[in-house]
Amino acid sequence: MIPFTYTRAGDAAEAVRLAGRGDVKYIGGGTNLVDLLRETIERPAALVDVTGLSSAIEPRGNGGLLIGAAVRNTALAEHRDVRTRYPVLARAVLAGASGQIRNMATVGGNILQRTRCAYFYDTEGSRCNKRSPGQGCDAIDGFNRTHAILGASSSCVATHPSDMCVALAALGATVHLEGADGARTVPLTDLHRLPADHPEIETVLEPGELITAVELPPLAAAARSTYRKVRDRASYAFALVSVAAALEVDNGRVKEVRLALGGVAHKPWRAWAAETALRDGPATTRAFRAAAQAELAAANPLPDNGFKIELAIRTITAVLGELAGSDA
């Protein structure tokens, strides 16, 4: 780690003021940032601790839920309204990391955690455009079994590792931001960028911009929702492919559906094409598989990760089948 100063912010306004537009990083639980500081991948001059921001989960007038950026991952999965009204979110959080890390990790930090691409971490021996723009990408001709199949570029094929964000994408969550130029909101699905020619720019956040909260809209279909994560071991591993889904079936037809994928792209991947194919159509296994195939039609596999395409199709089909239950 290179030296940095440390200050603790009492609230969002103070955090934004302390950060200014300088060479500053916010720190939540530190479970990703401390690692990256140690590897000198992140080299800020100053840290501003934002664990003192709101850690409340409050109902909104419209029936939604406002989740403070400093809410710990365990507290989110534990909250009664999240468990009963947005089970996909509780399940996604519980599928990630370990009990210890979920106790430390904050909602803001989870959203902005960085890729787990091994070449990105290998500062001594590997080329990486995300770490050192213009250097090249050793994953493209290397071991890329865990890398992206959708939305990647010739600059970067990394995936976004968050489970929680996949559920937030499916639910249509909005992220509340505050910066030197004031406050704004951004849909979670627009917050992370695809790599294109600049994999080092991962989100639409401005320098110094702070996540203050995440808002869940009211969504009746979310009451029947779930998250399935496929990984190399039964627990405590990142996703190869994961599926967040909500489904409302009426008289054998799909009334409302929400679908997002993890482990496949540089951002949590909302499956818009599959949703369109499914909405108002029959809630059958055949229709579920056809919609999954439509979503994955754009997939562009690397030498080692072609298996993810069929894995994603089968996982989507199985999860929608599970949610449809006897209605299918």
Partner: protein, 173 residues
């Protein structure tokens, strides 16, 4: 003199935070305070050997900057037991051969203490079938999932799970 507001309580004693904010809670414990019970395995959050309790919640101290724990109450394996007596989990680990080399053991025990408290207040896990139930029954599947953040290179997992299961069952009687 270290005042309460600017100190970290470690096993009941107020300790000043390190002057250098880069120092992890783990290094503060081991290097500065000579509390060697907490172990360093991976230093990356992946093994659980460095698990301690902060205000009763289990955390990995290797990814914790010590300065972030000012005002908090940290308990390590050294602080769990009474003066002359082992903690019930320590006794159960001996009884069930819950260790071989012992390197992962302090982390396993601190993690189990935090885990049991989570289960008591109804925190669900990845394998909990019904998310809406109040208190979770700690089946072996639940225990294995909830303890998956603590690796044991010696493969003592069967003894570890047996020791934790017996202790948790005893507490609930």
């Amino acid at each position: 003199m270290v005042t309460k507001d600017f100190s970290i309580r470690i096993n009941g004693t107020a300790v000043g935070p390190p002057a250098d904010p880069r120092v992890s809670l783990l290094d503060l414990l081991r290097e500065t305070l000579q509390l060697h019970g907490t172990k360093k395995g991976c230093d990356q959050g992946a093994c659980g050997a460095c698990t301690v309790l902060a205000d009763g919640e289990r955390i990995v101290s290797c990814l914790a900057l010590a300065v972030q724990y000012v005002g908090r109450n940290v308990v390590t394996i050294e602080g769990l037991a009474g003066d002359d007596e082992l903690h019930p989990l320590q006794r159960a680990f001996i009884e069930h051969d819950g260790f071989q080399c012992g390197y992962c053991t302090p982390g396993q025990i601190c993690s189990a203490v935090g885990m049991a408290a989570e289960a008591r207040r109804g925190v669900p896990s990845h394998v909990t079938p019904d998310l809406t139930v109040g208190e979770v029954e700690l089946t072996h599947d639940e225990l294995r999932e909830r303890m998956s953040g603590n690796l044991c290179r010696c493969g003592a997992h069967n003894g570890i799970v047996a020791a934790i299961a017996e202790t948790c069952a005893g507490e609930r009687k």
